[in-house]
Amino acid sequence: MVRRKRTEILLKGSREIAKKLAEGIINNYNVKTIEEPDNGLVMVKVRETARKSLFYLGEVLITECKVMLNGHLGIGIVKGQEPEHAYYLAIIDAAYNAALPETEDWTRTLLLEEEKIKQNYETFKNNVLKTKVSFQTMDN
């Protein structure tokens, strides 16, 4: 599973998934922390729609962590102050970079979580769309 998709699932879904997957690695491998979870900033670049130019909207607080596993680096980046989650994300990233066999088993777990995310989105969507206006033209 590509990094974009798996990080989407791990951040939009339950925090417990990342914890469970990472703990399986911690118990069986030597995980070395290269950079403790620490706060930093990401500058947000936006393409505006009036003249289609680029500008900086502002910065976002993030927590970032780096670990090493079997000689492979893993990075965990998450918006906000979430040191524990950043650590678990870094371990999962390192596991994928090291192509550990466990990662093949993770696909099913992640796809199941993706289904839950889709269900949550449907609930959210149905709720928001209750505020959609249904115009009726009034006659005299």
Partner: protein, 378 residues
């Protein structure tokens, strides 16, 4: 006249800071930061936007420390921000990727995807709800339970993450001039001092972090009499934008990027009709566009930003609201409140020199009778 160092205020300052803490605590109730984060959504959005730092938790702590003063909370956020390393730049965010939870147009009734009101104060009676005085956790738990149960099934196929843009529709219809992507890397006002004339990226960055009241006031001035504008909101959206960061060690492959979370923003495109004389002498109406966007849900600020964006793009020596130095140098919260506030800091020496001048001129005019008058010492 140079500055003179004085001392003697240390103890008084220490006691003053204690007294400030006492004012925050004297009623004996601890304000819960999580409670601020849950219940002060709009103030948190305003503080994040004006401080140009997105973090609901930091904004909530700052609001608590500042006792609810937005200017002080923004100052705290900006100061903290200056201590953090900038680790990454996001991949370019395209606002049409927004997961919208509110989307309206004042220009077109039947927009593709429909008018979605979402959460808004627009249709509420502005009457104080005194029942909130007695609201309990049990009350809100029941309300939330009923709200969740009341979801029902909506068969509407509208995809909130993929709503078509009204500007794109107008461009396709030929009602609005299209333009190519401008890929010039943005300037960054936090890294380079602003020099005039500014670039578009600098203007938008200053406007989006401007003080809400200042941006709103100048936008209002441009509408009311300093520019004779009558724009209409083409589209206003509130929703979450997804953020991605490229793999720092391996190029710009989209699939290899890290998703880091979403940020809530308000985005506005405003249409400005203007008559244009064509080559054949015929007058036609063309639309100019103003662009506004800011952190959180702050619709008045985003609309006002779009008005000022259009004013500064067109420029006009007649109106201060079209003058980029006038607008951009006066809307920053920390700069404006800092400069005004510095007037209450000790100016003993400079003011004394002014007093001396007044005394001398009065003395020369009124003779030696003045010599016996008491004097205020610095």
């Amino acid at each position: 006249m140079g500055y003179v160092a004085v001392k003697g205020g240390t103890l008084a300052i220490e006691e003053s800071i204690k007294r400030l803490k006492y004012e925050r605590l004297k009623k004996g109730d601890v304000l819960d930061v999580h409670g601020i984060e849950c219940g002060m959504r709009c103030l948190i959005d305003q503080v994040m936007s004006e401080s140009s730092l997105y973090s609901e938790t930091l904004a909530a702590i700052s609001i608590k420390q500042a006792e609810g003063s937005p200017e002080e909370a923004v100052f705290l956020m900006r100061a903290y921000r200056s201590t953090l390393p900038r680790k990454h730049y996001s991949r370019t965010v395209h606002p049409d990727d927004m997961l919208a939870e509110r989307r309206i147009s004042a220009s077109f009734k039947d927009i593709p995807g429909g008018q979605i009101l979402g959460a808004t104060c627009d249709y509420t009676h502005r009457l104080i709800d005194f029942e909130l005085n007695n609201e309990t956790e049990g009350d809100i738990s029941n309300w939330l339970h009923n709200f969740a149960r009341d979801n029902g099934i909506n068969s509407c196929a509208t995809d909130l993450a993929n709503l078509p843009k009204i500007l794109d529709y107008l461009r396709r219809e030929g009602l609005l001039q299209d333009c190519e992507n401008n890929d010039r890397e943005p300037d960054d006002i936090t890294r380079e001092s602003v020099k005039f004339p500014t670039s578009r990226s600098e203007r938008l960055q200053i406007l989006t972090r401007g003080q809400t009241g200042a941006v709103t006031s100048l936008g209002y001035a441009a509408l009311r009499g300093y520019g004779a504008l009558h724009p209409t909101v083409g589209e206003l959206r509130v929703g979450h934008l997804p953020l991605y960061v490229d793999n720092p060690f391996d190029g710009e492959d989209e699939d290899d990027a890290y998703y880091i979370g979403g940020i809530k923003v308000t985005e506005v495109e405003t249409l400005f009709p203007a008559p244009v004389q064509k080559e054949n002498g015929v007058k036609e109406i063309e639309f100019g566009i103003g662009y506004g966007i800011c952190y959180g849900q702050n619709e008045t600020k985003a609309i006002a930003m779009s008005i000022l964006d259009h004013c500064l793009e067109t420029g006009s020596p007649e109106y201060p609201t079209h003058n980029e130095e006038f607008v951009l140098l006066h809307i920053d919260s920390v700069e404006a409140t800092g400069f005004i506030s510095h007037l209450k800091l000790p100016h003993y020496v400079t003011f004394q020199s002014k007093l001396d001048s007044v005394r001398k001129s009065k003395k020369s005019g009124r003779g030696k009778d003045m010599e016996s008058d008491g004097e205020l010492n610095p």
